[in-house]
Symmetry: C2
Subunit: 133 residues, 2 copies
């Protein structure tokens, strides 16, 4: 499991049960959109409000321990920040998986073509996952 309380404290966020639940759900499920998070939290806190979800997501995005992933043809999803990685998105089942791919060859070929200074490369593979094919 993940030590949500320490994580929250490290980022100067008060430890509330709702926040702990958000972190734990994201840890368990990897990638979730706002509605999925809301549904999960409703089970634990029947009176939780969507506003709380939004406020917390935004707080966590600002503290940079959450990352927003924008995928074609679907709602943005959120994930806990971890090592830099890319995403596999299955167009059949919709599942998203992390994958660790070396991007140095990409950086090299960009360098040859342009003087753009890269901070960050965002790569999304779409296609069909092993289970669906």
């Amino acid at each position: 499991m993940i030590d949500s309380s320490s994580l929250l404290k490290n980022y100067n966020l008060k430890v509330t049960p709702q926040r702990v639940a958000i972190v734990e759900e994201l840890y368990k499920n990897g990638h979730m959109n706002v509605d999925e998070l809301y549904e999960k939290l409703l089970k634990k806190f029947p009176s939780v409000s969507l506003a709380t979800i939004y406020k917390n997501i935004n707080a966590m995005l600002e503290k940079i321990f959450l990352n927003e992933v924008k995928i074609a043809d679907s709602k943005p999803v959120f994930e806990l920040i971890k090592e830099e990685h890319s995403h596999l998105v299955c167009s059949s089942c919709g599942k998203i998986k992390d994958i660790y791919i070396d991007d140095s060859s990409l950086r090299d070929s960009l360098k040859k073509k342009s003087n753009f200074e890269v901070d960050n490369i965002n790569i999304i593979f779409s296609g069909t996952c092993e289970e669906c094919s």
Copy 2:
């Protein structure tokens, strides 16, 4: 310039002045979000409505001659479909440029790690463009 009328006809869309203007603006500017398109069209058609912009963007997306690009921290932008390419997004000036990068090494390294069947790879480089650095 671009032959917007033929383009529209080829995709079975009636040629209207608003549509021609949308295609021409996208051709000129490369990438535009809904509001930018709306502002441009307002200059030519003071009574154009946002609904028309949305309806046409959606029609063009369906006919697959428009592409939606989702970028972190900004509104989605639209571009005319052309050869497959990647995007450079400057975090300083916000400008988006196309870049043609060979992705075969990415495909190879993915193949080694996973049985995911790739249809399509979406790559966004963020950083600082030549002019801004």
